[in-house]
Structure formats: C-alpha cells, structure tokens
Symmetry: none
Subunit: 213 residues, 4 copies
C-alpha cells in the first residue's frame, strides 16, 4: 500500500512539473524560463526536477515532444478518412485554427525550438513517426479529392500542410505586433471568427476546382 501511494505521488509530482514547465517555457521561451519558477509553480522541490528530467534542456525536450504528440493525436481523432474530401479539408483547417487558439503554448514552444534550430526535436523518434502519419493523412485526403474531381490535381501535401498551419499560426503568434501594425484588436471574438472564415476560403480556393467552391 505504502509503495502504491508513493508511486502515485511520484507520478503526480512529475505531472505537475511537466505542466508547470510547459506554462513557463511557453511564457518565457527556453532561455527565459526559470527552473526555480517551474518547481515553485509545481509545488515540487527543485531537486525533483533534476531527479526526474535530468536538466532544464531535457525537460524542455520532454515538454516539446509531448506537445507535438498531443496535437498529432488530436488530429488523428478527427477521423478525416470517414469524411468526404471537402468536408475533411475544412475540418482540418478549423481544427488547426482552434487548436492553436486554445493551446497557445504549442506555438511558443515551437518558436522557441526553432530559435534553437530544432536541436531537441531532432532527437525524438516518436515525433518522426507521428509526423509521417499526419502528412500521409492529408495526402490521402488530397488523393481522394483529386480522384473525385473536387480538388485540383498535383497539389503537394507538404506545401498544403504548411499553408494550413501558416495562416493560423502566423496570425496568432504575431498577435501583439500585429495589433500595432494593423491597428486592430486581433483577438476579439469577431476578429477571430473573421480570420477563420478567411482561412477556410483561402484553402478552399487553393485546393478545390473553381466550380466546387
């Protein structure tokens, strides 16, 4: 019994540390994040952080890896294969937008990782597997759409994926400078909805044959 309790506590501590780390890394980047702040937020001893995760860098890697696996998992749950191509595409665009919107840490983590030239992600095999599955999923939609004549032929799945991500990601990651440059509150409800519609339109016009949008 004692052992079980202890084990559960240990897992709890790990979980809290990861959650706190995610928040701190997202807020301040890898360099700006403070190990003290993380352990404090997690109500755990700083030593535990090192015990479970090695060091700050390894902790960041764990957080980042988990963040990528989370989104890839969520995408799989959309079951786009069971929708008709146009529907599947729009669903993906909506999902991507909403995921970024509701998980702003993901964006900051990815930005931080790119500032560090993806040196953490490189080490993760799991990410590569999940990524491949994701790209294939979109490729399959494109194939189906092309076959049925609703989509234009010859669209590159990778380019499409990048564009779907880009039009949501950029808007959100640059919302602070954007607010100044464009003199608008980019984050109010109406603006967000308008942007989603614009993004759907962008992708549909890009992918579908003219007679199908």
């Amino acid at each position: 019994m004692d052992k079980k309790v202890k084990v559960r506590d240990a897992d709890e501590t790990k979980r809290r540390l990861l959650q706190a780390a995610k928040a701190e890394f997202a807020k301040n980047g890898l360099g700006g994040a403070r190990v003290d702040e993380i352990s404090e937020r997690a109500k755990a001893n700083k030593r535990m952080l090192y015990h479970y995760f090695g060091n700050k860098d390894d902790l960041f890697q764990t957080v980042l890896e988990q963040a990528y696996l989370d989104i890839r998992n969520a995408e799989q749950k959309l079951q786009l294969d069971s929708l008709e191509p146009r529907q599947a595409l729009e669903t993906l665009v909506r999902f991507t937008w909403n995921y970024y919107l509701r998980n702003p840490e993901f964006i900051t983590l990815v930005n931080s990782e790119n500032l560090h030239r993806a040196r953490h992600l490189k080490k993760s095999e799991a990410i590569k597997v999940a990524s491949r599955r994701f790209v294939n999923m979109v490729a399959k939609i494109l194939e189906r759409g092309e076959m049925s004549g609703v989509f234009r032929p010859g669209i590159d799945a990778v380019q499409l994926n990048i564009t779907i991500a880009a039009i949501g990601y950029y808007y959100l990651t640059n919302r602070f400078t954007g607010a100044i440059v464009y003199e608008r509150d980019l984050m109010e409800a109406a603006a967000l909805e308008q942007r989603l519609q614009f993004n759907i339109e962008t992708i549909m016009r890009l992918v579908c044959r003219p007679e199908h949008f």
Copy 2:
C-alpha cells in the same frame, strides 16, 4: 577633415553596435543575447553601447524599429501603384518572400518581440505611421483590381496582408522543426523556388476571379 574623422568614428561605432546587436538578437532572441558578445562583435567598448543606446532593452527597441522601417521602406520602393493590379500583387508576394529569405533576422526579431508582447514596438510612433502607409498601399491595389474586374470584391486588405506574410514567414521561421516534421530539406534552392510558386498560386487563387488565374 579632422572633425569629420571624429564624427565618423562616433557614427561608425553606433552603426557597428547596431549591426552587431541585430545579428546577436536575431540569433539568440532578446533574453538570450549577450551584451558582451554584441560589443565584442562590434569591436566597441561595452560602455559605448550604454552610452549610445541606454541599455539592452532600448538597444533592442532601436534594432527592431529599424528593422521594421527597413522593410516598410523597401516595400514603398516597389512602386506597386505603377503596376497593374495582378502584377502588383504578385510582385508583393515575391518581394515579401524574398525579403524574409534574405533578411532572416527580421523574422527572429519579430518573434522575440511577440514573446515580449510587443512592449517595445508599442512605444514607436514611426512604426505606426509606416504601417498605415503599408496597409493603404495594399488596399489601393485591391481597390484597383476590384474596379477592373480581375479581383474578387470584398477582400479585406488586412487579412490579405497577414496571409501574404504568413505563408512565407511560417515556412522560414519554422524551417528547423519543419525539416524534421516533413522530412525534407526546406532550404535547398529547389524547395525554396517551389514554395514561392505555391505561395503565388495561393494568393492569386484567393484574390483573383477564377477566370483571371
């Protein structure tokens, strides 16, 4: 002559410091940048940095402000008003892509500024003026294209601007994680050219009436 040398020295030092700061901030972000590294790179005494720019934060603000003014200036030089709408739009897409490609510091600076919630940009009046002019420029192209019947009506200039930026910016800022996720070298010449073409296509299909692309 004597006087000129003196004056030139001071200005030269300032210039070298700014250049070094830009490189260092771009490489490591605001938090990760090292003041020692900047002054060393500029072959200037650290004290001069504080003498001319106040402190690290103010230096970052100066660098960032200059970076924004530089791109806004370059855009104005395109003289899009003298081109026909389709041509003007494509020119803008190409320019934006190439500018990001050849000035990668700009992207990292903007990312860093957004991590800090645009607290430096907020203070700059010059940026606001230049931004307004930029948005108006694109709005005018849209207007002209709409009038002449090549562009669809009702396209929001801000949304279009954001999208043109997004599809280039995202690809380049996330080139390191992208290389892993998509298992491609995103930076080789062919890939870059392919991306540019894809972006032009994306924007043309978004903006032009079907019969005009």
Copy 3:
C-alpha cells in the same frame, strides 16, 4: 541531531552574513560597502546573501534595524526606574557614551542611514515601538526628578535625549577631523574619561536645580 546541524548551519550562515555586513557597512557606508567583501568575510557564498536577505539594500535595512533594537534593548536593561532620578540620569549618560564607544558601528550605520534620508528606517515598525518606549523611559525619569525637586521643571524629554546622544555621538563620529582641528588624540584613555566627565557635568547642570549638582 542531524536535523539540528542542518538548521544550525542555515542560521549560522545568516548570522555570519549579518555580522560581516554590519562591519562592512560600518566601515564603508551603504554605498561604499561591497557585497563581495561581505560574503567573503562571512565565509558564505554570495548567493546565500541574496537568498536570505534579498539584496544589498534589504540587508542594510536588516542590519540597521537590529542595531537600533540592540541599543534600545540594552537601555531597557538599565532599569532606570529603580534608581533615583539623578542616579538614573547619570547612568543613562554613562551608558550612552560607553555604548557608542564600544559599538562604533552603530554610529556609522546611523550616519549612513541619514545620508539616505532614513528611507530604510521608515519601513520598520519595530523601531517605532522601541523608540517610543525609550523616550517614555526618559520622560518618566524627568517627571520623577521634577516631582522630588532635584530636577528643574519643564525640560523636554526629546530635547534632553537628543542632547545626551549628541555630546557623545559627535565627539566619536568626528574623532578623525576632530583630532586635526583640536590637535589632540581624542581617543586615548585619558581623553575619553575627561570627555565622559564633561558630558555628565553638562547634563547635570542642564537638568538639576543648581543646589543639586
């Protein structure tokens, strides 16, 4: 036992830091004191100083506060209430002189605090309480002496306190310039004894009715 050692170590470090800080602040003032010197003298890591005391300013405040509480405590231990008024007054004059003489840091700390317009002392509630008790103590002696007819009536307790302090404090704080101006070694035993007698005489003649000194 083990636990005790740990606890003792932390407290010991704090104690050593405070002691070293007191010496360094007394020797060089707040501005002139060196944090490195303090931690070195205390044989503690500099980081500990910040861990326990926040920063240099807060450390100074702690040292100063303790110094004030120490003298106020020592005064209370004199139990002047149990002595007859003349005896109590002389005891206080002697004590004040000897305390300044044996705790020269107190004087320098107070000087430093006044150079900084008492901005640290202002924050201390404990000092205010102790001060009030001290002033009341002297007021009570005056009252008793007045009632019994040995003291002149109408003497202000605050003015008296200030004078008792002044005639010792000034002599000692200005002992270096004083030695030059007066061409005497003000710190040799005979000189110190002479000054104490002079101070007792000054206060007695000020406070007592002529027939009682």
Copy 4:
C-alpha cells in the same frame, strides 16, 4: 583682451565645478558622488574637472578645505572679542547653529571625511592654522569670562567647542532618523527655534556660574 576673457572663463568654470562638486558630495558622500554628475551640473566638460583638480579625491579635498575655511572665516567675522563674555558665548552658539542650518553641505562633507578617517584634511596646513585661531578665540572668551567672574573656572576650551558644535550638528545631521525615533518633524520652524533656545540654555548653564544665568 582675449586673454582676459579666457582667464575669466577658466575661473568661472573652476568656480562652477567647485560649487557643483560641493552639492554632489554633500548629497551623496564622497563614494556616492558621480564625476559625471558634477561636470554636468557645472555645465563643464568632464575633462576640465581633471585638468583643474587632478581627480575625484583631490576635488573632494579642495571642496572640504574650502568648506572649513569658510566657516572659520565666518566665525572670525563675529568679532567675539569686542563682546562681553556671556554675549560672546551666546553669539557663538547662535552662529554655530545657524551656520549648520543654512549650510547643510558642511555637515555632510564632514561626515564623509570622517568615514574616510580624515585622510584629506590631514594634508591641509591651512586648516590647521585656521583651527588653532578658532580654538584660541573661544579660549580667550572663557578666560575673560572666568576673570570677570561670570564663567566657572577650569572649563576646557576644546571640550566646550565640541559641545557647542555637537548639540547643533547632531540634531541636524540625524534629522531623518530623528524624525522617526522621536516622531516629530524636527525641521519645522517652531522646532528649530525651540532647539536653538535649548542649546543656548545648555551652554549657559554649563559655562556660567549659577548666579549668572
């Protein structure tokens, strides 16, 4: 003509530098004073400061020396020899108080010098001469008063001088901590007047025979 103008300018610059230095040293002490601040306040080039005064330490010495000579000079102007002893003594007490009150820099300079163990004053021969004259002046008053029977015999001129200074100096130099300890505004007009009266009383009772105060 040109030369004269230049000479006058040079003297002016020196004067302004000295004045600015006095203010800065008085405000922040020797260690806390900033050379930049001094030259800025004097609207002179920093290099001039070094040209005229050597370095910060030498500048402090000059300022301090001048401050001492100023007060010694002012004392001589009182012409106490032409007053009867009691009158002369009271005049001195009043003068000392008022001088400290109106020249608060003097006090801070002296405090600073004592923090540095009078290492600057030691070097000044002029101070020694002026000091001797000052002490003699008071000794003469004491002598005259003793001879005429109004003053008690055997009073040490040095001790008396120190006490006259002490009761004013201490009150003013410790006015910030004093305000907190005594819970009074020590600097309001009524308080200052009350203190002066108290000080006169203190000295008169100390020096005069009982039947003469």
